[in-house]
């Protein structure tokens, strides 16, 4: 789906991290957690390509004054890293953006009798909030949020409001535990009684660690990948990631924008 969205709000939620709410057509409400949008930052050729962002939340705003129509919206949580995201952060309420999406294959919500362990690194939390919103309806959910410093730990209050139990870890110890968030995950897995399933999004190194943990313990694990994208619709083949049978001699590439961005971790190739 391609549509013109109007910005409803755009605010810095932590230094360098922004949350933007945009109008959406009613069909957008069926976006599944883990799907993404391709945003055209402006109509000029700089930046040229669309930028991919996860869907942080979807909803419908019912204006306070009676009479106004209910307005479906979606949200993005983004980090300013380069030209495109810097430009997004300068946009205001009522500015318009051309959006393509929701795109890609989202998370499989799994069985309700599993404990859901969500692992997010930095802005990797973005697609996990909508996921948590769905998961809490049926299962206990725990969030393991990691970052370099406390500024990288985002929107924990929102997760807690859903009833998610949150663990945080920062590399510099400025918030929560000092160290990697995978340590808290491991402790939880050690203590675990019943079945569990892992959902992760964040830097590739973190995903690799989580995938290895999941493989060792035989726990189902889904990860959401990033990849340099031009089209977002499976045409350019720019975004691919190596699949589990991949080697230099017999390459096996998966298309992140159409087969992913969410994959069973076992489908992909990881370093040990």
């Amino acid at each position: 789906m391609q549509f013109t969205a109007m910005i409803l709000s755009n605010a810095e939620v932590s230094p360098g991290y922004w949350r933007m709410r945009l109008t959406a057509p009613p069909e957008f409400a069926s976006a599944s957690p883990g799907q993404f949008v391709m945003v055209r930052v402006n109509n000029a050729i700089d930046p040229l390509l669309r930028r991919p962002f996860g869907v942080f939340d979807v909803g419908t705003h019912t204006p306070a004054h009676s009479g106004a129509a209910a307005q479906p919206y979606f949200e993005m949580l983004y980090r300013v890293v380069g030209k495109g995201t810097a430009m997004l952060s300068t946009l205001h309420e009522t500015d318009l953006l051309d959006i393509l999406g929701p795109l890609g294959r989202g998370f499989d919500l799994g069985d309700s009798d599993e404990e859901k362990l969500i692992v997010g690194g930095g802005v990797g939390l973005a697609p996990l909030y909508l996921l948590a919103r769905e998961l809490v309806k049926k299962s206990p959910v725990r969030l393991f949020a990691g970052g370099r410093t406390r500024d990288d730990i985002l929107c924990i209050t929102e997760f807690e409001r859903l009833g998610v139990e949150c663990y945080t870890a920062t590399e510099d110890g400025s918030l929560g535990e000092c160290g990697l968030v995978t340590e808290a995950l491991l402790r939880r897995l050690d203590a675990l009684q019943g079945r569990a399933s892992i959902y992760a999004c964040g830097p590739h190194g973190m995903l690799n660690a989580v995938a290895n943990i999941a493989a060792q313990r035989g726990i189902p694990c889904q990860v959401s990948l990033e990849g340099y994208m031009a089209c977002g619709v499976g045409a350019c083949l720019g975004c691919v990631a190596p699949g589990n049978r991949h080697s230099a001699e017999t390459p096996d590439f998966r298309c992140v924008c159409t087969e992913g961005p969410v994959f069973e971790s076992g489908e992909l190739k990881w370093r040990d």
Binding site: Q2, G227, C236, L237, C239, F253
Partner: protein, 304 residues
């Protein structure tokens, strides 16, 4: 009155001159949600090889000022899977599908041309000669007139379908290349393919692309493409398909003035998946607004 948008491309009648470029439109199906394929003139499939190709390691793409580099490595399903899985879709669409293909030896090119010739759903063949010739130390076919002519002759011998030869811009003399391909039997020339470029990640001190260099496309390259189309159009008799940085109807019409009979839209489809359809519609509107009854009257109409 509605202007006449039809053009004739070496015997192929197109409802309008707007085609999509190889490698930017998948096998057609990927864009079905965004483009009504029956509103464009034709579409060109991702480049095919005899065997499936997995392509290059990642990163494969990077944005540059006004353009992008790609080093996909010609990933494609191969001719067999194309016939089994992609051709049925082509049958369902009433728009010419053009198969783009490449090889690493003249024999591979000829074998592919021969097999594609047998597929009724394939309206025409587009030969990508921007590939290294493994038998001649990796020199790119499309940068040497004799090598290129060899490929074209071999393909010509095995197909009666419209044979489009896609020229590389990475040459000193594109006109010499064009003439060599025309003389060797090309029905039509398409140009330009991507220029060779490179991007560097300063902080990592590495090339951005795993392949180091990549193919440069997008609006940035338009001035080079337009110049080459103009030069070639003056020098050959066969029709020309203009390609390179076409983002809107104005760009497309400029290529036609320079001498192109049709155009291909590439990178623009990434930015706006409906680009090709939009461009065809906007061209028609421009004709109406400017009282041009027949788009063919614009071909090569540049006053220069």
């Amino acid at each position: 009155m509605k202007p006449d948008m039809t053009v004739n491309l070496a015997g192929m009648a197109l409802r309008n001159p707007v085609m999509t470029a190889s490698g930017t439109f998948g096998y057609g199906e990927e864009f079905a949600e965004y483009v009504d394929l029956e509103t464009i003139g034709a579409f060109v499939t991702k480049g095919l090889s005899l065997k499936p190709r997995a392509g290059n390691p990642t990163p494969r793409i990077v944005e540059t000022p006004g353009g992008m580099l790609n080093a996909i490595g010609l990933q494609n399903v191969g001719i067999d899977a194309f016939i089994q899985k992609k051709v049925p879709f082509l049958r369902s669409v009433n728009t010419p599908a053009i198969a783009n293909f490449f090889g690493n030896t003249v024999d591979e090119y000829a074998e592919l041309a021969g097999r594609l010739d047998q597929i009724p759903e394939v309206a025409a063949l587009e030969v990508n000669i921007s590939c290294p010739n493994v038998k001649q130390g990796g020199i790119v076919f499309g940068t040497d007139p004799d090598c290129a002519a060899g490929v074209v002759r071999a393909c010509r011998a095995v197909t009666k379908k419209t044979l489009i030869v896609k020229l590389s811009p990475n040459v000193t003399d594109v006109v010499a290349m064009a003439r060599a391909c025309e003389d060797a039997g090309a029905d039509c020339l398409s140009l330009i393919n991507t220029l060779t470029g490179m991007a560097i990640d300063l902080n990592k001190r590495r090339p951005v692309l795993a392949n180091i260099t990549g193919g440069f496309s997008g609006p940035a390259i338009k001035p080079i493409a337009l110049r080459m189309v103009w030069q070639v159009a003056k020098a050959v008799k066969v029709p020309i398909i203009g390609i390179g940085g076409i983002m809107n109807a104005t760009d497309a019409l400029e290529f036609m003035l320079a001498g192109a009979t049709a155009v291909q839209v590439g990178t623009a489809s990434f930015i706006n998946p409906g680009a090709a359809q939009q461009i065809a519609a906007d061209m028609e509107n421009w004709l109406t607004d400017n009282g041009v009854a027949d788009i063919k009257s614009l071909i090569g109409a540049l006053q220069a």
